[in-house]
């Protein structure tokens, strides 16, 4: 069913399923490939049937069963004959991760870790139904959709330098809020500045190990340093935008006579009103998510300043891992403009790309891989291999291996909290029961996933971060 074509590269043959226009490629180790589900491979094959797909339907080593695209799926489409599909982005548009570095050492933070986590949990609303501390007007929401993190900085949440260290400078071009429904606005307005729930988190971490001295220095990281990682997305606004446009694109599939193996792959040809309207709305949601992470960063800094005075907390980087973007890539020797969909995958541009901030450009883009609760997170650096193999993409996390139902049967939330606490990790959550679903054991070990992208030359390992305190929804 899967053919190994090289170390860490498995191919889904083009004749596996009727209608595949290209083969599939799963970048994975020999041990992880045994754990991959049949359904995930089916989803890789389904994506390969979409019109205008370039080279391969790809899946990263953390790939697991999703809807439409697999989670960990990457696909690029030609501008002239390709499609745009919300199934390749997901409902949580621009779900992503950012990393703040401090000048603090672990020893300064561990004695007061409980206070810090409690304050973060209190100051940054999380969980179902949480309302933001922020009250924004309709007009301001419109600006959030078009200006992203830039709006937040102008409104006093953070500094200009934050924008330089953000993928797309925290604002993707092409936002068209005309195609954001009133429903999406109603959901989005009270939720700007909230973390959400599920696997979203805010984590205080310690740099556990430096894996590349030069690159770590470049990214301002040192062993024993305290960092803060924020993982969240576009909240109800993004979910509603995807829901609204999925209905429209489902009808477009019939109109443009596209044959699909799965309704969740609903799409429309690039350039058609249905595709462009979705794209303009999707970009608006992506910008909302960047503003959201920017506001949360500001409140995080306020909490730290309460304890440590006027300390510096610079943004290392901010990555999106659910998004579709127009990018230039080399295809068969010539440069082409492609619509790259990354669903549960991180952009990992190698050195020299103009999209990378000046400070990092000669090294490569920082790639942030959040761990599951209680496990290591990683900072990597995008490499040339990514440009050759994966349209400049790497994994986005650990990847689930156990269902939520099974997790709840196997673990109790309170036990999970206790065992983390014994390892010195302070966890706060709105409902401890929820922690069972996110127990560390329900994910693949992130180290295995990260090793694959490192060994493939997609992204090099820079630093390993271990959690000290976690605030969850």
């Amino acid at each position: 069913m899967l053919n190994k074509v090289d170390d860490y590269i498995y191919e889904v043959p083009q004749d596996r399923q009727k209608g595949m226009r290209v083969p599939g490629r799963i970048f994975i180790s020999d041990t992880l490939v045994d754990k991959i589900e049949q359904g995930t491979i089916d989803q890789v094959a389904n994506v390969a049937t979409l019109p205008g797909i370039v080279k391969y339907s790809m899946a990263m080593p953390d790939a697991h069963l999703g809807y439409g695209f697999p989670i960990g799926g990457v696909a690029a489409f030609r501008e002239d004959e390709g499609v745009i599909s919300p199934g390749g982005v997901g409902f949580d548009i621009n779900c992503g991760v950012r990393l703040l570095r401090t000048e603090l050492k672990a020893g300064q933070v561990t004695p007061i870790i409980s206070n810090l986590v409690e304050d973060l949990f209190h100051d940054i609303p999380s969980g179902v139904g949480a309302k933001s501390r922020l009250r924004i007007s309709d007009h301001e929401l419109e600006q959030v959709f078009t200006q992203g993190a830039g709006w937040a900085v102008d409104a006093g949440f953070g500094v200009k330098e934050d924008l330089e260290h953000c993928e797309e400078n925290g604002c993707l071009k092409g936002a068209d809020p005309k195609h954001v429904s009133l429903k999406a606005r109603k959901r989005g307005r009270p939720q700007l500045g909230t973390l959400g729930s599920g696997n979203h988190f805010l984590e205080i971490q310690r740099v556990d190990e430096i894996l590349d001295q030069d690159l770590a220095k470049k990214f301002g990281l040192f062993e024993g340093q305290i960092t803060v990682m924020i993982h969240c997305g576009s909240r109800g606004a993004g979910h509603q935008i995807c829901t609204d446009h999925l209905t429209v694109l489902n009808k477009a599939v019939q109109k443009y006579k596209i044959s699909l193996p799965d309704k969740q792959l609903a799409c429309a040809p690039i350039g058609t009103p249905e595709a462009e309207n979705y794209f303009g709305a999707m970009v608006s949601a992506a910008n909302y998510a960047w503003a959201n992470r920017q506001i949360i960063s500001h409140w995080t800094r306020e909490v730290f300043q309460r304890y440590f005075g006027d300390i510096k907390m610079d943004l290392v980087y901010d990555v999106a891992h659910n998004v579709a973007k127009i990018e230039e890539h080399e295809v068969d020797g010539s440069k082409e403009r492609l619509y790259v969909h990354r669903k549960g995958a991180t952009r990992a541009f190698g050195p020299g790309r103009p999209e990378i901030p000046k400070a990092y450009r000669d090294a490569g883009q920082p790639v942030l891989i959040p761990g599951s609760m209680g496990t290591a997170s990683y900072v990597l650096c995008g490499s040339e291999g990514a440009m050759e193999l994966t349209f400049g993409s790497a994994c986005h996390g650990a990847g689930r291996i156990m269902s939520r139902t099974q997790a709840k049967k196997t673990y109790s939330g309170l036990d999970v909290k206790d065992s983390l606490s014994k390892r010195g990790i302070k966890v706060m959550a709105t409902n401890p029961k929820m922690l069972a679903e996110e127990a560390p054991e329900v994910y693949k070990p992130s180290s295995e996933v990260v090793d694959v992208v490192h060994n493939l030359g997609i992204a090099r390992k820079v630093a390993k971060l271990m959690p000290l305190g976690v605030s969850k929804g």
């Binding site: 409902f91 729930s197 209905t247 099974q406």
Partner: protein, 171 residues
Amino acid sequence: MEPFQYLEHTADVKFRARGHSLEEMFGNSALAMFNAMTDTSKVKNRETWTIELESESLESLLYEWLSELLYLFDVELALFASFDVKLAQAGSKQVRPEQVGSEQIMTEQLGQAQSGSGTGSEGWKLKARVGGERIDPKRHFFETEVKAVTLHQFEIVQEGNLWTAQVILDV
């Protein structure tokens, strides 16, 4: 007949909901969705919401019904546990039901997709009275948050007088 059951899915929530009528199946699908988030037996019937929808197929109507409930959950901060659903196949002469303001604006904005409505096409209409209450953090505990209703492996099957819907929720 079990009103609904959850099936194995690695990352998301997958359920099958049943009913001896379409109306019952629509109600049980909604219950399955909310029960994935919280214990719906703790939800009291204190307030009523009215939902009216129209769609060109039964599948899209179910998708829009569940999506509408999620929307209401998010903006009203309310949980629902009783669903009185009425369905009708829309005839050519029937007037488009009155819609809430937001829905109207959305359909205008999303433009071209609405072309079939009101022109005698075979559509479905839904009218529902939904009972529930506002979220009370002291009594309602959430085990998971449903982000959205997906169309992946989405299907409605009729066997005799038994209707079954299969739905995957993004959580």
